[in-house]
Amino acid sequence: MIPLLLITPLILLAALGAVWKARPVHAALLLALSLSLIGGLYLMIGAEFIGLVQFMVYVGGVAILIVFSLLITRPGDEAEEVARRPRSVATGIACVVPVLGMLLYAFSKGLPEQGSEGAAPSLPIKDLGDRLFTYDLPAVLAVAVLLTAVLIGAALFARNFDKNPEPPADS
């Protein structure tokens, strides 16, 4: 419980930074920090495999993709962003607060009387694999098709459509 209490505010602070920071690269790096802290939280409560996968996919993949595309697109100036901030933030908070209230209300109502706080349920990697490749096989295949499609699609999208991409062979 105490480690959880320690890491929760850190996650929230990093996420707040990711939402608040005006400089886009800072926001992306703070997102990476927040996601890796969530991975650490998973490690803490006994879901080791999920935590490591979270590290691998989010820190090594998604965060890198985001900073990379930030670099390529060179986002506009931060002064404008900061200047128009009060209005947009007020609107945003007006929309978000009811959602948050509803979520918290639902959670407080729907909680089981007493959770099993004792021993962590084990997450043996073999059982996970067995389950994935028997019961969940259709879903695995669907995800595989999706990922292949995304790989090819992203490669096609991001291709250079210039007429003459290669410099002439000899000049």
Binding site: S36, F55, M56, V59, G60, I64, F68, I125, A169, D170
Partner: protein, 420 residues
């Protein structure tokens, strides 16, 4: 003279092993665990609480690994210069101490006493933590590799996943170093480094996946134990000596060289093009940290290669089991590292478009191919028939890929002219 010394050392160590039958404290096999044992004994003698014993023992185990590999880093920095000098028909460092043996010390003092410059345009916080973040994952990755039968610093069921998960941190660290320097060359170098690392991570994981598929475990010590025994009384049952393992091992080795930013894939810091890549704006100790991270990463990736394909700490010939197993591991490590240095001395650096094409159009298809080949090998009885089928399955696509790569994708011959 030197072979005699090596022989004597080996005999002495194995003698320790025999003497150890009586005394439980230290044997040749468990010698590297001596610091950990001592710390545990001392803490238990003063009746420290249990958690303190656990922490102390863990710290001692980690300290042993870090100490060994920092020593290895110092030695390697000298060894690399010596080997490269030999390749290039020079002498290499030979002023500081006999055979230049004190050169790492001199280098270290120089690095430590240099001025630490932070550029005005740099983001000082990110600029400061980037070198640290480069060293940390390398050290963490070294912690899960089994070095010997009894020497496994952190026994982890998910060792392989852990290795790749901490490796993801390196990319973020390189990005931070490049971006926070606030200058052009580091940025270009970081973009090159990240795109290279992402591209080469895929073949790396695919070829490791073949091993996982065949052994059915993600624990690195389990993978090593799976490679025990000998075929035909002489050939070790290592993964590299199976048809799928040969290709997967080769793919892993090439991708590993690229992940460790070694020549011929050291474009991110190609001196002739972008000064020193993401390290351009660093000086003094931070620069040394980058080098340390790079060398420790090299150790980690070669250690993983040895674990996955070269049988880890298993002896290469039958009847050599009396030598402590970690000696075999470090012997193999030395050979692999020497191989890397040899490559560095003899290969030219590739160009960036060749680098990316090689990963996406050659290594990834080959890496994907190892998975069905491994399945065929498993179900065709792991014998002569398996060799024939798997060989055909591998050879045909290999030749096709090579021809394709050479015909269509190899860059057209370029003629370079002076600017008129």
């Amino acid at each position: 003279m030197k072979p005699v010394l090596v022989l004597l050392l080996t005999l002495a160590l194995s003698g320790l092993g025999w003497a150890g039958e009586a005394g439980p404290l230290v044997t040749g096999e468990s010698l590297p665990r001596l610091p950990q044992r001592l710390v545990e004994m001392i803490l238990e003698a003063v009746s420290a609480p249990e958690w303190l014993v656990a922490i102390g023992s863990f710290a001692a185990a980690a300290g042993t690994v870090v100490g060994v590999f920092l020593g290895g880093f110092a030695l390697l920095s000298l060894f690399e210069r010596k080997v490269l000098a030999r390749v290039q028909n020079r002498l290499g460092p030979n002023r500081a101490g006999y055979f230049g043996i004190l050169q790492p010390v001199a280098d270290g003092i120089k690095m430590l006493t240099k001025e630490d410059i932070v550029p005005t345009k740099a983001e000082w916080l990110l600029h400061l933590i980037a070198p640290v973040l480069i060293v940390v994952p390398a050290v963490l990755a070294l912690g899960v590799i089994p070095y010997g039968r009894e020497w496994l610093p952190v026994p982890l069921e998910l060792g392989l996943v852990f290795f790749f998960a901490v490796g993801a941190m390196t990319e973020i660290a390189i990005f931070m170093a490049g971006w926070a320097s606030g200058s052009k060359f580091p940025m270009l170098g970081a973009m090159r480094a990240i795109s290279q690392m992402i591209s080469y991570e895929l073949p790396l994981m695919l070829s490791a996946l073949a091993v996982v598929m065949m052994t059915g475990t993600l624990s690195l010590s389990g993978i090593v134990e799976n490679q025990q025994g000998f075929h035909l009384w002489i050939l070790p049952a290592w993964n590299i000596l199976t048809p799928w393992g040969m290709v997967a091992g080769l793919v892993f080795l090439i991708a590993g060289i690229a992940e460790a930013n070694r020549c011929p894939f050291d474009l991110p810091e190609g001196e002739s093009e972008i000064v020193a890549g993401h390290m351009t704006e660093y000086s003094g100790f931070k620069y040394a940290l980058f080098f340390m991270g790079e060398y420790l990463g090299l150790f980690a990736i070669s250690g993983l290669w040895i674990t996955l394909f070269l049988g880890g700490w298993q002896a290469p010939l039958p009847g050599l089991g009396f030598v402590p197993s970690w000696i075999w591991f470090f012997g193999k490590l030395a050979v692999v590292i020497f191989f890397f240095l040899w490559i560095r001395g003899t290969f030219p650096r590739v160009r960036i478009d060749q680098l990316m094409r090689f990963a996406w159009l050659f290594l990834i298809p080959l890496g994907l191919l190892t998975l069905p080949v491994a399945a065929v090998w498993e179900y065709s009885g792991r014998g002569t028939l398996g060799w024939l089928i798997c060989g055909a399955m591998l050879l045909v696509p290999f030749v096709m890929l090579t021809v394709f790569y050479n015909r269509r994708l190899a860059p057209a011959t370029r003629r370079y002219h002076f600017i008129e």
